[in-house]
Symmetry: C2
Subunit: 215 residues, 2 copies
Amino acid sequence: MDSPHRYPEPDREALYRVIAQRRDMRHFRPDPVAPEVLQRLLWAAHHAPSVGYMQPWRFIRVSDRALRGQMHELVEEERIATARALGEREDEFMRLKVEGLLDCGEVLVVALADGREEHIFGRRTLPEMDLASVACAIQNMWLAARVEGLGLGWVSIFDPERLAALLSMPEGARPVAILCIGHVDAFYDKPMLEIEQWAERMPIASVLGENAWPG
Amino acid sequence: MDSPHRYPEPDREALYRVIAQRRDMRHFRPDPVAPEVLQRLLWAAHHAPSVGYMQPWRFIRVSDRALRGQMHELVEEERIATARALGEREDEFMRLKVEGLLDCGEVLVVALADGREEHIFGRRTLPEMDLASVACAIQNMWLAARVEGLGLGWVSIFDPERLAALLSMPEGARPVAILCIGHVDAFYDKPMLEIEQWAERMPIASVLGENAWPG
């Protein structure tokens, strides 16, 4: 049966389209992001679910160019260290563009708030639910960016303690994302790692089981 | 400047509407979920981003009623333990409905795949990025459920080791969500925890800083 709460067909189709067309972008144009658009993206993030309604997300807008440069250096160090750790795929990894920090219009750092240990509801059994909530917020923002025609890339190749120190975060806070947001020439047709033949999408049947583990 | 890649106004509006109207549901009707709708929700989840394209999400559809009952017992035990841990808010917590496992049309368990330690790209610096990817997948599914007119509730009050054992998960796998999915009489006007006066939405200004920690 169809639900009486179902959205009209064009609205449903719009959601599935944005899910299909969202990309983790690494190539940006330097044009500025309109402040009201950035506000809408933050609104989308702030309307994510959070366990026990703890709203554990914190955002730092990095408009200071010198700070951006220092963040880029942190990422670059870890990019090289990651390539080395990959061994035989080192060269292949080094050819991938993993961030657009110096090019994009806006940079946001997303962090887990300090004081999260006070939240017993939802964190007693699965303490990592705070991160899950923050990731839901970022996914909302990612989809919002796509409908606004903006690219967003989630950079996670950095040392969280050094980034926390650089941004003078309070003790207990933990950065989990550097988001590059901005205009793009074009969105990738497929996920960049598929285009670059780094990996392929798994068949859905291989991630789904019935009353048992898949496979 | 507006992006040439921007979606038309009705499509943008549809996305912002579904973000605003998505709810963490705990009250369900028992009517079945159409198989093709469930497939669309899984498609949405499987089109989430994942660091290094690792696609770490695994789904178990629980159609076995006896298994569902055993899962409900696991949740009930932890619900009582969580209430006790809350101390002075124990009674208030016990009055909240935290899951709809026995009522909803479909139950999906979502888990982190085993073998994730092989993924160096994206997990060397921030190993928790696997969970972040799974949470993005669940958020996609949540929004898709809303446009289909279905409720979804993410239950995280369970002992992950016992749930893994109950479902015979391989070593290294970790369940992070029991999703209750199904028809509902109505969606809550506001987040249930706001209606129940458990917590309020924070002002967006208090989660946002410029070049510095918010506040």
